[in-house]
């Protein structure tokens, strides 16, 4: 509707612009024939021009001005809304950006903390493994030392036993060779004499004890 009114107004203005100057020119031709100059004021033309202008203004004011303004206002509103939307989106984007930056910073901080924790845990594990390895090494060394001592003692014992057995075997062989009937009888006599003496001493002791008790 607005467009059709604007088109009609434009057609009228165009017709006025085309036909009115033609009529004026015809009038002017007649006047020129009368002998007018370039700087002469043509009152009729001026009046008509003013009338046409006024008519144009009136027509435009009646039919085109309002739709044009409405259109312009609508466009202005649309642009304003787009600007507002853009501003809102911009603010939102800025907010999101800030949020993302904060999240990124938080993530970096958490990552740093995790790395630090991991490093600390790794250090702890390393120390623990080192301690354990050191303790095990000490145990192995201690066990080996004890084993060596045991083996050494066993070897010494075996050697000592063998030496003693050899010495005593030699001694017993020598005795068997050198101990004749007479010497053996002397041994027997001496042992039986010792036994008799012991018995007598025991008897004497018990008699003394009984006397003391009496």
């Amino acid at each position: 509707m607005i467009v059709s009114r604007a088109v009609t107004a434009a057609v009228l203005v165009l017709a006025a612009t085309v036909f009115v100057p033609e009529a004026l020119r015809a009038q002017g031709g007649a006047a020129a024939e009368g002998g007018g100059g370039i700087y002469d004021i043509n009152t009729g033309l001026s009046v008509w021009t003013l009338i046409v202008f006024a008519a144009l203004v009136a027509i435009l004011g009646k039919f085109a001005w309002k739709p044009i303004l409405e259109n312009v206002e609508a466009r202005e509103k649309g642009i304003q809304a787009a600007i507002d939307e853009a501003a809102r989106l911009n603010a939102e984007a800025a907010q999101l950006l800030a949020q993302h930056r904060a999240q990124l910073a938080d993530a970096r901080r958490q990552a740093s903390e995790l790395i630090a924790e991991g490093r600390a845990a790794g250090e702890g594990v390393r120390k623990s493994i080192e301690e354990k390895a050191r303790a095990e090494a000490q145990q192995i060394v201690e066990r080996a030392r004890q084993e060596i001592e045991r083996e050494r003692d066993a070897a010494i014992d075996a050697l000592r036993k063998e030496s003693v057995d050899l010495a005593l075997a030699a001694a017993s062989r020598l005795m068997q060779q050198n101990l004749d009937q007479t010497k053996d009888r002397q041994l027997v006599e001496r042992y039986l004499g010792d036994l008799t003496r012991e018995r007598n001493e025991k008897k004497e002791g018990s008699r003394t004890g009984a006397g003391a008790r009496a």
Binding site: I156, V164, L168, L179, Q181, D184, L187, V188, E189, L192
Partner: protein, 181 residues
């Protein structure tokens, strides 16, 4: 009742009879002879113990064989054991009788181990000395064991007197093994 207890009762009866007739040693020797015969002669043992022979016949045969060789009371004692069917215990009865005899005569049997055979003189010396040590008559039973090298080992009951060279060497060995290097 256990055989040992029964044998002891029989031995005590014969011992009392021996004391009464002042013949304990003689009765003991007779019982020893019979026990030795039972140990060594299988036929005599069979004759005495087999149930195939009638007891009367057995007794008659024994009486004929032993009369005049053993004291009459001992022969009668053997006949009584046949009556009581205790003749298989004669060896144990003899052992119990000897124990009673040893206790009565205050003598003790000792086992003497020597490294080599001893002369009679040495055996007598050992018996005399051991009697002094034990405080009663010692009856040594000698045996030879070269491993003891020299000296002697005396065992009486549960007591052992070890005067052998082997024991001394063993002691020396223990001492040397204990000694610190």
């Amino acid at each position: 009742m256990r055989d040992e207890t029964v044998s002891k009762n029989y031995a005590e009866t014969l011992f009392a009879l021996g004391q009464k007739h002042d013949a304990i040693a003689e009765y003991g020797a007779s019982l020893d002879t019979l026990a030795k015969l039972l140990d060594e002669d299988r036929r005599f043992r069979l004759f005495l113990e087999t149930p195939r022979i009638d007891d009367e016949q057995r007794k008659q045969a024994l009486k004929r064989a032993l009369d005049g060789k053993l004291p009459k009371n001992v022969v009668n004692f053997v006949l009584v054991t046949i009556d009581k069917r205790r003749q298989r215990l004669l060896r144990e009865i003899s052992r119990q009788y000897n124990l009673l005899l040893d206790a009565h005569l205050e003598r003790e049997h000792v086992e003497v181990t020597l490294a080599r055979e001893a002369t009679d003189e040495t055996e007598k010396l050992i018996a005399t000395k051991l009697s002094g040590v034990l405080g009663k008559e010692a009856i040594p039973h000698f045996r030879v064991k070269p491993e003891i090298i020299g000296g002697l080992v005396v065992r009486t009951g549960s007591t052992i007197y070890d005067g052998s060279i082997k024991r001394r060497l063993d002691g020396l060995r223990r001492h040397l093994l204990r000694a610190a290097i």
